[in-house]
């Protein structure tokens, strides 16, 4: 695996993903979906899993997956990002499936992962506290062992795909530490309140647990590792989505600048617009490099995977935001309207920057790794 060199199979995979997204997540369809309660289409999701096989890419073959790596998943994510596709890819495929895979619980994994790969099960990873903070040291849900099994009590905010999920994987406090628990989406005592979100393509919910029956998943000691690993995978998926989104915005901006005339000439012939587009290109190229690198770092060990993931978050989050802002500016008033697709990407960029602890936390971890610790490989 040479870094940055895709195999022919990977190129085919990208083509399949792009074709699917072009067909199923065209602009009008995305605008329709974001105004629906769930925010995505179950049937399309099933087709992605069952028919196209994109949801189990990175899962082991024995669990219904394709046994491919994160590079493959990143390629698919890039196409999802390009279409700003509203679908539980990050919540279910990146976060929940990875946590399940790493939790060390073969039984639950064998039950849920094939269903995820088939697009049958939407699963959420609820690893926030009651204010939405990611992976708290002290989870605000408490798990208690009773005669009839585990029971959960407490509250979590900002759970990605939490309202639509068929099952929720909950990070909770036990007497012996932090553990993961599986809860049925329809369980008694579970109430799910969809939050009014800025980015309508990613739905968040507040979950309240009032003595909710739950099943322990894996050993308590594994929970933190599973959640951290899920975040690293999701960071790569988010970064790849950002690359696709930013590239799409750049393409739109260039097309508009080429064809929109003011003062009798294409606005892209003015240096102010042209140089802005050049800066967008730099952002997109940098974002692409760090996102791919983070995928290869996990698959092929070309770098410390966590450093690469934090680098990817830091660079892509800023690049996506800046490209989105520049896209509005290049388009002028039309780019500020509801009818134009730009705002969907812009809000996606804003929302992503705050997910999984947010970009500030990623930069802080990167600083700790690069500046505080012993010198990194190659860093003087």
């Amino acid at each position: 695996m040479v870094e940055f060199e895709f195999t022919p199979e990977q190129r085919d995979l990208r083509a399949v993903a792009r074709e699917f997204c072009t067909e199923r997540f065209a602009g009008p369809e995305v605008r329709r979906l974001v105004e629906t309660p769930d925010g995505f289409d179950r049937e399309v999701w099933r087709r992605l899993g069952r028919d196209v096989g994109l949801l189990g890419l990175a899962l082991p073959e024995e669990l219904g997956g394709a046994g491919a790596g994160l590079v493959d998943l990143a390629l698919v994510a890039e196409e999802f990002g390009r279409a700003v596709a509203p679908a539980p890819l990050v919540g279910t495929v990146a976060l929940a499936a990875t946590a399940l895979r790493l939790a060390g619980d073969d039984g639950t994994a064998e039950e849920l992962l094939p269903a995820i790969a088939e697009g049958e099960a939407v699963v959420a990873l609820a690893a926030t506290d009651d204010r939405g903070a990611w992976a708290p040291a002290q989870p605000t849900v408490r798990a208690t062992r009773t005669d009839s099994g585990w029971r959960l009590t407490g509250e979590q905010a900002h759970v990605l795909d939490g309202a639509a999920a068929d099952a929720v994987l909950v990070l909770a406090t036990t007497e012996t530490g932090t553990g993961l628990f599986a809860v049925d989406g329809a369980a008694d005592g579970l109430t799910r309140e969809p939050l009014s979100v800025l980015d309508l393509t990613r739905r968040l919910a507040r979950l309240r647990y009032a003595d909710v029956p739950a099943r322990a998943v894996g050993e308590p000691g594994q929970a933190a590792t599973a959640v951290a690993g899920a975040r690293d995978v999701a960071a790569v998926v988010l970064a790849a989505e950002a690359v696709g989104g930013a590239q799409r915005l750049l393409d739109m901006s260039v097309e508009y600048a080429r064809t929109r005339l003011q003062f009798g000439r294409a606005i892209g012939s003015f240096q102010a617009v042209k140089h802005r587009c050049a800066d967008m290109l730099v952002d997109v190229e940098h974002a692409r490099s760090v996102a791919y690198h983070a995928a290869w770092a996990q698959d092929a060990g070309t770098d410390d995977p966590r450093v690469a993931a934090d680098l990817a978050t830091t660079v892509t989050a800023e690049a996506y935001l800046r490209v989105a802002k520049n896209t509005v500016q290049v388009h002028g008033g039309i780019g500020f309207t509801w009818e134009h697709p730009t705002h969907l990407y812009y809000k996606r960029a804003v929302g992503d920057a705050a997910l999984l602890g947010g970009r500030a936390a990623a930069a802080e971890r990167l600083a700790a790794a690069v500046l505080d610790g012993p010198a990194l490989g190659g860093v003087a």
């Binding site: 939050l195 800025l198 980015d199 003011q262 003062f263 000439r265 802002k325 509005v328 500016q329």
Partner: protein, 393 residues
């Protein structure tokens, strides 16, 4: 008695005779108009006293200080732009007819300038006005119109001669928005609400008496309006910590849990920039009197970019809370839903338009470079060519 004394005395007697607390708004504003306090530099009988424009602040201080309404907030286009344009360019009869209803807010005004094909290049607009005896027949599409759904009258810029170079073929009108040829459609924006409108004109009719300035002189008249607009937008406040920076400072004070050294560092530099902009506005006013020329574009340019940076800071400070939104569904009147406290996410989204509306930052930088610094103009594809022959799209 000095002009200032006269303004003070007049304002005090209006307040005394029509206490704002007990006088209906319309009656109070009518009394102000009749006393010459609407636009003090206008002639007597037209809402003014014929004194220096700088004395308006003196009158407003007394009237609004006593609880009187602010006509700029009630009818921004009417008070800030239509009034001065009408006074400068309309016939005396037309001015007499229009100014009082404007000031007392019987008639809300809007501005029909921008078009889908004419944004930065306003002078390239395509809405046609064709003469038909004593009336003009207007057809075209306008956009980015605030208050069009509430407006009785509009300032309209239309093309009367497509065969002239673009600036020379325009004429300026006052349009009756109740004309059957006028259709107003709300334009939903990324914040969810519909602050602006599209306005479709299909053979709308305007009496020639409602033309402002000569035929073909519309660009010249429009400059009166636009200068008033940019100064109004960019004028800024002279109160430290007001405006968007105040929103950020309040968040910093109210939410110690959100504080980080990085946010603190960014915020103090945003504060410094905001305060420098504020002081620059003060200095420009002190140096130039009340009328600010093209240097007012500095305030508009800086204010727009600063707003965006400040609201980005707020979003970064809010962290995961930034992902929430108070709702995209516009209310029937097009306004956003009410929220407790400050709706910072909405302000953040709204600020994205600041560098576009009222002159893009690109256009403003060109104005600063050419008009204030005297740098040469860009090469042009349209100068001297008949408008009809200049490529558009």
């Amino acid at each position: 008695m000095t002009d200032r004394d006269r303004v003070v005395e007049t304002a005090r007697s209006v307040v005394a005779e029509h206490p704002p607390a007990t006088t209906p708004q319309r009656a109070f504003l009518g009394a102000c108009f009749d006393a010459g306090l609407a636009w003090v530099h206008f002639p007597e009988g037209f809402g003014g006293l014929g004194v220096a424009p700088g004395l308006q602040a003196v009158a407003d201080g007394i009237l609004q200080g006593a609880g009187g309404p602010n006509p700029f907030w009630l009818n921004p286009m009417g008070y800030g732009m239509a009034g001065p344009t009408v006074m400068a360019h309309a016939s005396r009869e037309l001015a007499a007819q229009l100014l009082r209803p404007d000031y007392v807010c019987d008639e809300i005004w809007c501005q029909l300038f921008s078009e889908p094909g004419a944004g930065s290049d306003l002078a390239g607009l395509a809405t046609r006005a064709v003469r038909d005896g004593d009336t003009w027949v207007v057809t075209g599409q306008k956009v980015w119109t605030s208050n069009a759904h509430k407006a009785r009258r509009a300032l309209l810029l239309a093309r009367t001669d497509p065969d002239q170079p673009k600036h020379r073929g325009l004429t300026y009108f006052v349009l009756d928005m109740t004309d059957p040829g006028v259709e107003v459609r709300p334009l939903r924006q990324m914040t969810g609400e519909a602050e602006f409108n599209e306005v479709y004109l299909r053979e709308a009719r305007i009496p020639d008496a409602h033309r402002l300035g000569e035929v073909g002189q519309g660009w010249h008249v429009a400059m009166t309006t636009l200068m008033n607009e940019r100064t109004a937008i960019g004028g800024g406040s002279s109160v430290r910590g007001s405006g968007s920076i105040g929103t950020a400072l309040r968040l910093w004070r109210e939410r110690p849990d959100l504080r980080t050294p990085a946010l603190r560092e960014r915020l103090v530099h945003l504060f410094a920039r905001a305060d420098a902009a504020r002081l620059t506005g003060d200095r420009q006013r002190a140096e130039a009197g009340e009328r600010i020329g093209p240097e007012g574009s500095i305030g508009k340019l800086v204010g727009a970019e600063l707003n965006q940076d400040v609201h980005e800071w707020c979003m970064d400070a809010l962290g995961v809370e930034a992902t929430l939104y108070s709702g995209y569904e516009p209310r029937p009147d097009g306004s956003p839903p009410p929220v407790e406290g400050e709706d910072r996410q909405r302000m953040f989204l709204r600020s994205r338009a600041n560098t576009i509306e009222g002159g893009t930052s690109e256009v403003l930088r060109t104005i600063l470079g050419e008009r204030l610094l005297g740098l040469p103009g860009d090469l042009r594809a349209d100068t001297g060519r008949p408008w009809s022959e200049v490529p558009r799209g």
